[in-house]
Symmetry: C2
Subunit: 243 residues, 2 copies
């Protein structure tokens, strides 16, 4: 958001949890955005955003529970199907990370529309597996308070109001991975893809590498998104196993 605002020459205020990676906070500030930090436990970020918008006339860009946001994130699914087609690949499954569920919901609409036989899975970190449990029960389930995860970018309390009905209708399931599986995926991206990936962005790759699904003879697409990771967290991950 801060990058696009800079390109368009408009002001941006970004509301971030106070425990967000320094890389993300400083990156937004370097793009000229105003960063407002809130306490993940005590504060209500929607209320903070509504107050600022009411006072300044700013447009609110919500992270997931919005049809335009879901549609925009869904273009990732369009690109996956287009690029798979260019390579002559028929996809058995696509995995994308889920927090509020906007990315995977938008992506699922695009993928299932163009390639109905391709299964779409969410990926979630352990402790923040509200979607996995909600898909099983059929109702929106909340996460227990006090859970922790290295996936700072994938921490919501419950599934989105707009995203959950879409995900309930279209997803084959949600795959849950541990912090250590995430670190191993970050290390694999370092070693084999030469990409710096943040913990939350590595969750789908972690689900694949830790064999949450039977991959034998199958063709998968995995969404790897986000590189806002502070050096201490990254170093712990790439050190985590022998080179």
């Amino acid at each position: 958001v801060s990058h696009v605002a800079k390109l368009l020459g408009i002001a941006a205020t970004i509301i971030m949890p106070s425990d967000a990676p320094r890389a993300k906070i400083e990156g937004a500030r370097a793009n000229g955005a105003t960063v407002i930090l809130y306490d993940r436990i005590k504060d209500d970020r929607e209320a903070i955003g509504a107050e600022i918008a009411g006072r300044t006339g700013a447009v609110i860009v919500p992270p997931y529970d919005d049809p335009d946001i879901m549609a925009g994130q869904g273009t990732v699914g369009l690109e996956i199907i287009e690029q798979a087609g260019e390579q002559g690949a028929e996809l058995d499954a696509v995995i994308a990370a889920s927090s509020g569920g906007g990315l995977v919901a938008g992506l699922a609409i695009a993928v299932k529309g163009l390639s109905p036989r391709t299964a779409v899975y969410a990926g979630e970190p352990a402790g923040f597996d509200e979607l996995a449990r909600s898909l099983v029960s059929g109702h929106p389930e909340s996460n227990a308070p006090g859970a922790t995860s290295i996936c700072d970018s994938l921490q919501v309390v419950r599934p989105g109001k707009l995203t959950f009905p879409v995900n309930k209708a279209l997803l084959a399931g949600s795959l849950v991975v541990t912090d250590d599986e995430v670190r191993q995926a970050m290390k694999a991206a370092y070693q084999h893809l030469r990409l710096v990936v943040e913990p939350g962005g590595a969750v789908p790759l972690a689900a694949l590498l830790s064999r949450k699904l039977d991959v034998t003879g199958k063709t998968f697409a995995v969404v790897i998104s986000g590189g806002n990771v502070d050096p201490d967290v990254y170093i712990e991950a790439i050190r985590n196993q022998a080179a």
Copy 2:
């Protein structure tokens, strides 16, 4: 080479200095190649290669002093000019790393052929700046024995026989960077590009960021190549400055 050999289903023997990154050695072995290690000081890798080729009938793929290798590496220059054109950019300069000088020589032929006003610079690590000194003196100069650099992939004794005449005719100069400037460039690639870059691959970016040229108002292309870097070297680089 090992990756292409694997794709084509043919055998590959890779001759590497014994102090090559483990990531490079293990990567080649993981691709099914036979890796032969030699001592950078005492052994003659050309002799080792000639012996193997004579005994097995293998084709030698030299690292730089070969017209086909230079032409193949030069396709990087074709892509740069094509992609700059697609973005409506007119390049003032292109910087590419140089060791034996094949990449920058091939690239210079392509770039100067398509865009004569674009200056082409080599980038070299301090202690292995044979091309910089050779371009100044007009004759092939050798590096002093005993030099060290974190740029393991950019260490030759003297300019190539075929590459130097091309580089002498076409290059605007060679920019020399220190180990610390290289580490800062690796960190910048981590922070801003989310790319894992090996020390030698970061040399051109280091030359740019440490302002070896006046960049004000100019448009540059920088070749960032190679991600074979062991975690200990990488961790030292991304830790090197505040995030």
